[in-house]
């Protein structure tokens, strides 16, 4: 594995959807970074903006959505490319998409075209981004299918997706995503539609391939069990903002943000004594009517006056642990006053 370096740096990203009913601020000031060779899990409930975030990284936010401000800096061969500023249909972003940064989608049933064979779809990506001839690309496709442990790849390369099971389709998707040795792989809920046994196979496969290719893995999921299983680092999202980020052990064993704490209390745990679940009170607010101040304040057990008025900044708990909550800003303020 090569040394760990930042390959993606996101600064104050905002993606808004301009609908007939009003503006939905799907992503509202996200700061994050992704490092090579590491697995970053982006967790949150549906509608929190995790899928939109990674779509923005590839410049494939669907209308009426639009990146309104912020930077997505992609470090590539000593070059810094700001994906947020590139035209989404331009040549430059298309040379990154599928080659440097590739993506695996949730639904293995709908993300492969039913009109083309599995091989055709992988070969298309290879010939588009590399100099390989069609025959060489086919060889590579078969090699990739073998690498993702598809049995009999020489035959399956000519099969249509409907002939494959869900797990096999997801493997084919992974083979396609890896076909150009990407620097970064974005996986948007890749195992949510799969059974547990298949999920375990796919997760192990992805981690093994990551070790081999040394790529960064940005893994999006709502399943905290999966996060605990594979993450090096975890970023927790709530309503278009990252509320907490730390290494996996810290997030699960000493979470700081009230939302992270509540989320962990609300999941049933297989390896523990049964006890009543402690759900997060209330519901995710209407996207058109976000609360003032901190987004979480109407559901937060510790909400103070300042939470209802002003948006909290980012506080450092320690070097690798950031949290966006007034509880900790207050601490920081008092500490400074004390010193």
């Amino acid at each position: 594995m090569t040394e760990i370096r930042k390959i993606l740096d996101v600064k104050d990203l905002r993606v808004h959807f301009f609908t007939d009913e009003g503006v939905v601020k799907a992503i509202d000031g996200v700061d994050m970074f992704v490092e090579s060779g590491k697995t970053l899990c982006l967790v949150g409930e549906s509608g929190c903006g995790k899928s939109v975030t990674c779509r923005a990284f590839l410049g494939i936010v669907q209308p009426p959505g639009k990146i309104v401000s912020g930077d997505i800096l992609f470090y590539h061969n000593d070059e810094v490319i700001n994906i947020a500023k590139l035209p989404p249909k331009g040549k430059k972003v298309r040379s990154i998409r599928g080659k440097e940064i590739s993506m695996i989608f949730q639904e293995p049933m709908t993300s492969l075209s039913p009109m083309y064979t599995v091989g055709n779809q992988i070969i298309e990506n290879i010939t588009l981004h590399t100099e390989l001839s069609k025959e060489e690309a086919r060889e590579r496709a078969i090699h990739l299918l073998d690498q993702v442990k598809i049995p009999n790849p020489g035959r399956l390369v000519d099969e249509y997706p409907f002939r494959l099971s869900g797990g096999m389709r997801q493997r084919a998707m992974i083979a396609m995503a890896l076909s150009c040795n990407p620097n970064m792989l974005i996986a948007d809920e890749p195992t949510t539609a799969l059974d547990v046994t298949t999920q375990a196979q796919i997760l192990d496969l992805m981690l093994a391939l990551q070790d081999e290719y040394g790529m960064a893995l940005l893994f999006i999921t709502h399943d905290l069990g999966v996060v605990a299983e594979i993450a090096d680092e975890v970023a927790v999202m709530y309503l278009g903002k990252i509320v907490e980020r730390a290494d996996a052990d810290t997030v699960f064993n000493s979470p700081k943000h009230p939302y992270t704490q509540a989320l962990l209390r609300s999941i049933p745990k297989i390896a523990m004594k049964r006890e009543e679940l402690d759900p997060i009170k209330g519901m995710v607010p209407n996207p058109f009517r976000r609360p003032d101040g901190c987004n979480f304040n109407p559901r937060c057990p510790y909400a103070m006056n300042v939470c209802r008025e002003r948006v909290p900044g980012i506080s450092h708990v320690d070097a690798n642990h950031t949290v966006s909550c007034w509880l900790y800003e207050q601490d920081a303020v008092e500490e400074k006053a004390g010193a």
């Binding site: 409930e45 549906s46 099971s165 869900g166 797990g167 096999m168 059974d195 547990v196 046994t197 298949t198 999920q199 375990a200 196979q201 997760l203 192990d204 709502h222 399943d223 905290l224 069990g225 999966v226 996060v227 605990a228 299983e229 993450a231 996996a248 052990d249 699960f252 064993n253 509540a262 989320l263 962990l264 609300s266 999941i267 049933p268 745990k269 297989i270 390896a271 523990m272 004594k273 049964r274 009543e276 679940l277 402690d278 759900p279 997060i280 519901m283 995710v284």
Partner: protein
């Protein structure tokens, strides 16, 4: 359904294992014909459910788990009689202390039991008719079965809405005005409006977000206490099953492989498939990562229309021996209500989930 015998003609007194049992499923089979060509010639059968037996005690929550395609939903649908089972018995202990075989009743005869055995569906979006108001959705069953007049219906619907945590003022709204969690509450209200004794929850919380899922699980538990409900909880999510169920039935390709109490099935599995299933469940703490100890199942789930010989699990089983490919193991009781269908259940030393 040409295979079906008419059991009504042969009079045999029906009996259950004991008075505590609410529902007893005996040798249930549901085979779907696979047809070919214009005249729909039957070329084979998809044995979705093949010889399934288990029972549900009054007031308990029985979990039914397995991978997709194992027949767990089909079992649920046979019990609510959405399907006419191909063979077998579904003995139900009704409210007037009689025992009836739901599987042997025809469409008309089964009608009185529709209010006793209700179902909660997985998808809160597609399971509510968008053209019906909340009141119409919930009261439809009362109207169809003539269980209440208009004013009684309104009272009942308002009462049940309150019990599931919705405001009675919402009665005239349409489903689109509600979030996923609220819709699922409407689905629960619809199931409970007839005061049922058994509720089949088919993946009732699978489509919900974690925080909402906890609310609905707590609600289901509270309602169970209040209304003395019995649940058949069908799910692929083993953490949820662990949380809510007293006993668990594990299915694989249309057959029951193991039945045990909610704790035993996790800590002391006796069937190699259960062991593999448990080892695949992600544990929600990075400190408990089971790197290297996970059991990798080779191959794919067997095809129910063309299952392997002997034990259906033998091609993927790491303990398989010669007998496994020749003889199908029967489900047998190991004592303490722990039933397993494996030739080597006593000899194998299987690993379960380690409790923290």
């Amino acid at each position: 359904m040409s295979e079906r015998k008419n059991t009504n003609e042969i009079y045999t007194p029906l009996a259950m294992r004991d008075a505590d049992t609410l529902l007893e499923v005996n040798n249930l089979k549901m085979h779907f014909p696979i047809t070919e060509g214009l005249v729909a010639r039957v070329k084979g059968y998809n044995r979705a459910v093949d010889d399934v037996s288990f029972h549900i005690k009054k007031g308990e929550t029985l979990g039914l788990v397995g991978e997709s395609g194992c027949g767990k939903t089909t079992v649920g649908r046979c019990i609510v009689r959405s399907y006419q089972p191909t063979d077998g018995q579904i003995l139900y202990h009704n409210t007037v202390d009689e025992i009836v075989d739901l599987a042997a009743l025809d469409r008309k005869e089964v009608k009185p039991y529709r209010k006793d055995v209700r179902m909660i569906f997985q998808d809160p979006y597609s399971s509510l008719n968008p053209r019906m108001t909340v009141f119409e959705v919930i009261s439809e069953v009362l109207k169809v079965n003539k269980l209440a007049n208009q004013s009684e219906m309104e009272d009942k619907v308002e009462y049940i809405l309150q019990r599931v945590g919705l405001r009675p003022e919402y009665i005239k709204r349409y489903p689109h005005a509600f979030s996923g969690g609220e819709r699922q509450r409407i689905g629960i209200a619809r199931a409970l409006i007839t005061n049922p004794s058994l509720v089949v929850c088919d993946e009732a919380v699978s489509a919900l977000d974690v925080s909402i899922r906890a609310q609905i699980l707590n609600l289901l538990e509270a309602l169970q206490n209040d209304f003395q409900l019995t649940y058949l909880f069908i799910s692929h999510d083993l953490s949820v099953i662990r949380h809510i169920c007293n006993r668990v039935v594990v299915m694989y390709v249309g057959k029951v492989v193991e039945i045990a109490s909610g704790l035993d099935i996790y800590t002391d599995p006796k069937h190699p498939y259960t062991e593999a299933l448990m080892s695949a469940v992600p544990v929600s703490n990075p400190r408990a990562r089971n790197k290297g100890t996970r059991i990798h199942l080779a191959g794919e789930v067997a095809d129910p229309s063309n299952p392997p010989s002997g034990c259906y699990f033998h091609p993927r089983c790491r303990y398989a021996q010669e007998i496994c490919s020749q003889e199908a193991p029967l489900l047998r009781d190991l004592g303490g209500e722990h039933c397993v269908a494996c030739h080597f259940a006593e000899e194998l030393d299987l690993v379960g989930v380690r409790m923290v």
